[in-house]
């Protein structure tokens, strides 16, 4: 490795300022948490409030993200280490992923508000919970996958050298998971921004509550029809997202390259100027040596099993037999959990069974309408992203230029653009219908586009050359070369996209715009309306139906397509 030049001192100064600023921001935010919840907190549309609001929103996202990360690592590890647990945990994760998040918000808000005696922190936590549910699942899936693909001999080496559970986690499992965790974290943050507006305003019956933040700023601007504020809010959001990308995710991505499992060095490692600057910084060096390493060593000592002298043969009887009491406690906890789940399922069934056939009919029609909308959105997304994505992917010159631009555009959460869409479309006949499809499209097309570009870039050049040599061109070129080659990528993109489209339906089919409530027929509208009016049975039925449809589609369509793609159209 090349010796790194020492970073200029201003990097250290900048770092210190950043630490101070974050510290101030967090304490400042914390002072608000003790205040009582006021119905209808004022959101100030003055541009000078924007930095504070952006900071508050980012802090909420960060808290939710840290919780998501801890949850994901613990959950995935539990699933990977215990076959029995895996059998329950993975399907459960699948279900959690497909349950529409917003359905639970009224319950969560009420519960948390009551728990904290009507203090603002209850609402803050409700927002965090909502964001958490949009960030956690893919992280858990990603880490679980990484744990499963750890080479067998590395695991055996850890056992032979008696690393113990903690050292094994720290030295083998966590490092193997760094790359998928970073990649999924970026997706999780995008998912979190999508619910930015929804997480900062709650409606319970006739009361509506707001939290100060960028989301509520945008919502307020939309409601009052203040176009200038809308544009400013959007701009702030884009700036925040780009800053996070440059200052956090790019450096992390470049840093995570050392955790690649392949044994040979690879040519094109991701680069980050910020990371290079940090690496040379004295301050970072000092923190690493004086804070991170001692803490790590202390944890290592505390959490590892007691050491044994080298070369002794511990006798077998020294191993303490598994404690009977512990086993009993575990059984009791498991039984209790199972009991709660059964009780919950039974009472849900009880509520749902009491719905009249007419109400079930409404649910069915709504489900059909939303299904059609998601399919239309998906078809539109595929229709434009495949040609454009293939074109970008096959032209290296353009793909280098287009990628960063597309990434910035894609990073703007669709929900933030929604008010503008509504403004333009509501006047048209069936306007909300079109707007709903447009929102789904906005929220999901990027997944497809990115995957198509990746697929087209990955077509080996000898296949392209063969196509030219044998004069395979026009439609035949698409049929024999391009479509099969991008198929696995396309399927991956479409799976992510449909999940997003269903989630978007709740936000898009039932809206409050400029003081007016509007809705169209659909499952999302049904759920949002039921939540609004406290119609618990319909809310539950709608939620269950939506989760059911998503899971069924996954099992019956997407998994099969994915298996087909894996077995027949893989290029390696």
């Amino acid at each position: 490795m090349l010796p790194r030049p020492a970073a200029p001192k201003w990097v250290d100064v900048l770092m210190l300022c950043a630490v101070a600023a974050v510290g101030y921001g967090v304490t400042h935010a914390a002072t608000r948490w003790g205040q009582p919840i006021a119905s209808g907190v004022q959101v100030d549309l003055s541009p000078w409030r924007l930095p504070v609001y952006a900071g508050l929103s980012t802090l909420r996202m960060a808290v939710a993200y840290v919780i998501s990360l801890v949850f994901a690592v613990a959950y995935a590890r539990a699933a990977a280490h215990n076959r029995m647990a895996e059998r329950f945990l993975l399907p459960l994760l699948d279900i959690l992923q497909s349950v529409p998040i917003l359905s639970f918000m009224p319950g969560v808000v009420l519960g948390l508000a009551a728990l904290f005696h009507g203090r603002t922190i209850g609402l803050e936590l409700a927002a965090v919970v909502l964001i958490f549910t949009s960030q956690a699942w893919n992280l858990a899936f990603g880490f679980h996958q990484a744990l499963l693909t750890i080479p067998r001999e590395l695991g055996e080496a850890s056992t032979v050298y008696r690393l113990g559970a903690w050292r094994r986690f720290l030295r083998l499992e966590l490092p193997s998971g760094v790359i998928p965790l970073v990649a999924n974290s970026m997706m999780s943050w995008a998912g979190g921004w999508f619910f930015l507006m929804a997480s900062e305003q709650f409606t319970l019956g006739n009361d509506s509550y707001r939290l100060q933040g960028l989301g509520s700023y945008l919502a307020q601007a939309a409601e009052t029809g203040n176009l200038g504020a809308m544009a400013l809010g959007l701009l702030t959001l884009v700036v925040v997202i780009v800053l996070l990308d440059q200052l956090l995710w790019r450096p992390l991505l470049a840093w995570s390259d050392r955790f690649k499992l392949e044994q040979a060095g690879s040519g094109d490692a991701p680069q980050s100027a910020v990371l290079d600057a940090l690496r040379g910084s004295d301050l970072v060096e000092w923190i690493s040596r004086r804070v991170v390493q001692p803490v790590g060593r202390w944890l290592d000592e505390r959490l590892s099993p007691p050491r044994v002298p080298l070369g002794t043969l511990p006798s077998m009887t020294e191993d303490p037999p598994p404690s009977r009491a512990w086993a009993v406690v575990r059984m009791v906890v498991l039984a209790a959990l199972l009991g709660i789940v059964l009780w919950g399922a039974l009472s849900a069934l009880h509520v749902v069974v009491n719905l009249s056939p007419g109400e079930w009919g409404t649910v069915a029609i709504a489900a059909g309408a939303t299904l059609v909308r998601t399919l239309v959105a998906l078809a539109l997304a595929v229709a434009w992203t495949v040609p454009v994505g293939v074109w970008i992917g096959l032209n290296p010159k353009w793909s280098r230029r287009a990628q960063p631009i597309v990434q910035v555009i894609a990073s703007v959460p669709a929900t933030a653009l929604f008010p503008i869409l509504l403004l333009a479309l509501l006047a048209l006949p069936g306007g909300l219908n079109i707007a709903a499809v447009a929102l789904m499209l906005l929220g999901t097309q990027w997944y497809v586009l990115f995957n198509v570009i990746a697929g087209a870039t990955a077509i080996p050049s000898d296949l392209k050359e063969a196509a030219i040599t044998y004069r395979v061109s026009g439609w035949r070129r698409w049929k024999t070369l391009i479509l099969p080659a991008i198929f696995p990528y396309l399927v991956t993109g479409m799976i992510t996209a449909t999940g997003g489209a269903w989630n978007a339906s709740i936000v898009s089919e039932y809206v409050t715009f400029a003081g007016q409530k509007r809705s169209t027929v659909g499952l999302g509208a049904l759920i949002a309306q039921a939540a609004d009016q406290g119609h618990f049975a319909v809310l539950l039925a709608g939620t269950l139906v939506m989760a059911g449809i998503v899971i069924l589609l996954n099992r019956l369509v997407w998994r099969r397509l994915y298996a087909l793609a894996e077995s027949r159209y893989r290029l390696d």
Binding site: P151, E153, L154, E156, A157, T159, V160, Y161, R162, L163, G164, R167, R171, L172, P175, R258, F259, K260, L261, E262, Q263, A264, G265, S304, P305, R307, V308, P309, L310, G311, T312, L313, P314, M316, D319, L564, S567, R568
Partner: protein, 454 residues
């Protein structure tokens, strides 16, 4: 070169350091076992090699002895006492090196000492000493991906030796390296072991390389497959005669070649001049099809025909630069199909094999088709089942299930894949992967040819 002094002996004299007693291993209840009643002893000062074709369970045995796997039946003895769980007296050098890519060479070597009471300074000192012993000086701060294969395996050795294991396990340690590097490392290991510079009391090596086993081992256990079992135990060549290619060395290599090229015959036949007719082992339902690709088979037959239809195994392995077990698999396949005979460590092309080498592709396929139907019992079974089925199709799961009665899970799948490969080439049937369906190739209904072959 530094030396690490071995700790004082802890085993009582006369007891094996490590032993396997009647070890069996199977996965499903109705699946054929991977290992069947295997007994192995490892005594102080011994270097034992486990030699055998792939699928003979030698790596599984190694993992059972290391306590990474539980035997289904039987037990592992450490110093004569039954032992369960990871064996703390054992260190392993892995085929794939198994280095942690995010740790430096020094950190990788120190890994084995983390669980000991040694102080941090002591750990570092010992790791540096092991790195020095194994010739890695100057690479302490390098990451594994910056090293060549040979250097990586040196790290593997240093990491294993630093814990001063009573027994060092070597799991095909040289097979991922190129020929020259492997040769070099092997010679260094031999030197260190003979000089008693290694802080370990016994070695157990899994390998498929006959030459390597004869060069290094005091005792060689030849394994047979399906299920894995010890076919024969051979005394190694005395240490002073191992270097170069002395007569004793060559003789033992050739004997083992003959034992391994005749998997169905009693190995005792090859140990003394054959006085009696070779006794065949009880026939299994299906003999194992060697894992051989058709291009390799055709190419090999043509090569042999080109050099006069006769060559010694030794020459072939040298000239074709092939791994020993791949060559053995090829020879076994030709023997099975009746394309060649193995006599006195020479491969001799039969007239049928000669014809196979000379004809055009269509006829080549016809010869192969007839031979496969005549000699490969599994092929006969599958084609028979296809003819009996009303639609002339059979699900792959059905064939796999049938195979799992005769072979362990992984081996059954491999047998199936080779069988499909051969059957497609012979145009006996087609196989639709996504539907999982075998279908009789109507154009080459084998009725007439099969009858002719009987």
């Amino acid at each position: 070169m530094a030396t690490i002094v071995a700790p004082p002996p802890t085993a009582e004299p006369g007891t094996a350091l490590l032993a396997a007693r009647d070890v069996r291993k199977y996965y499903g209840d109705d699946q054929a076992p991977v290992l069947d009643r295997v007994n192995v002893d490892l005594a102080e000062g011994e270097f034992v090699a486990l030699l055998g074709p792939s699928g003979s369970g030698k790596s599984t045995l190694l993992r059972i002895l290391a306590g990474l796997m539980e035997p289904s039946e039987g037990e592992v003895l450490v110093h004569g006492q039954p032992w369960r769980g990871p064996n703390p007296q054992v260190a392993i050098v892995f085929q794939s090196f198994a280095l942690f890519p995010w740790l430096t060479v020094l950190q990788n070597v120190e890994l084995g000492l983390l669980a000991t009471t040694l102080s941090e300074e002591e750990r570092r000192a010992r790791a540096l000493k092991a790195i020095d012993l194994i010739g890695l000086d100057g690479f302490e701060e390098a990451f594994p991906k910056e090293l060549s294969g040979g250097m990586k395996q040196r790290v593997g050795f240093a990491r294993a030796l630093v814990v001063q294991p009573e027994v060092l396990f070597l799991d095909e340690p040289f097979s991922a390296l190129d020929v020259l590097t492997a040769e070099h490392l092997r010679a260094e290991l031999q030197q260190l072991w003979q000089d008693r510079s290694l802080p370990t009391r016994a070695m157990l090596m899994v390998t498929h390389n006959i030459d390597e086993a004869v060069t290094l081992a005091d005792r060689i256990l030849v394994f047979g497959a399906n299920p894995g079992h010890v076919r024969v135990e051979l005394r190694g060549v005395p240490a002073e005669q191992r270097k170069g290619s002395g007569a004793a060395h060559t003789r033992l290599v050739e004997t083992i070649y003959r034992i391994m090229t005749n998997p169905e015959e009693d190995p005792a036949t090859f140990l003394e001049p054959p006085k009696r007719a070779p006794r065949r082992r009880a026939k299994r339902r299906y003999q194992a099809i060697p894992d051989v690709g058709l291009d390799d088979l055709s190419g090999f037959v043509q090569f042999l025909s080109g050099i006069g239809g006769r060559a010694s195994l030794h020459e072939l392995s040298r000239d074709l630069q092939m791994r020993h077990d791949d060559l053995l698999a090829l020879v076994e396949a030709m023997d099975l199909l009746g394309f060649a005979d193995v006599q006195e460590r020479h491969v001799i092309l039969t007239p049928l094999g000669q014809r196979f080498a000379e004809v055009e592709l269509d006829e080549e396929k016809a010869i192969f088709r007839a031979a496969a139907l005549e000699h490969v019992s599994l092929m006969r079974y599958v084609v028979g089942a296809l003819e009996d089925a009303p639609s002339h199709t059979v699900q792959d799961t059905q064939v796999l299930e049938e195979l799992e009665h005769a072979f362990s899970g992984e081996e059954a799948r491999r047998q199936f894949e080779t069988m499909v490969d051969w059957g497609r080439y012979a145009e006996l049937f087609t196989y639709d992967t996504s539907a999982g369906e075998l279908r009789l190739d109507e154009e080459h209904r084998p009725g007439a040819e099969a009858a002719e072959a009987e």
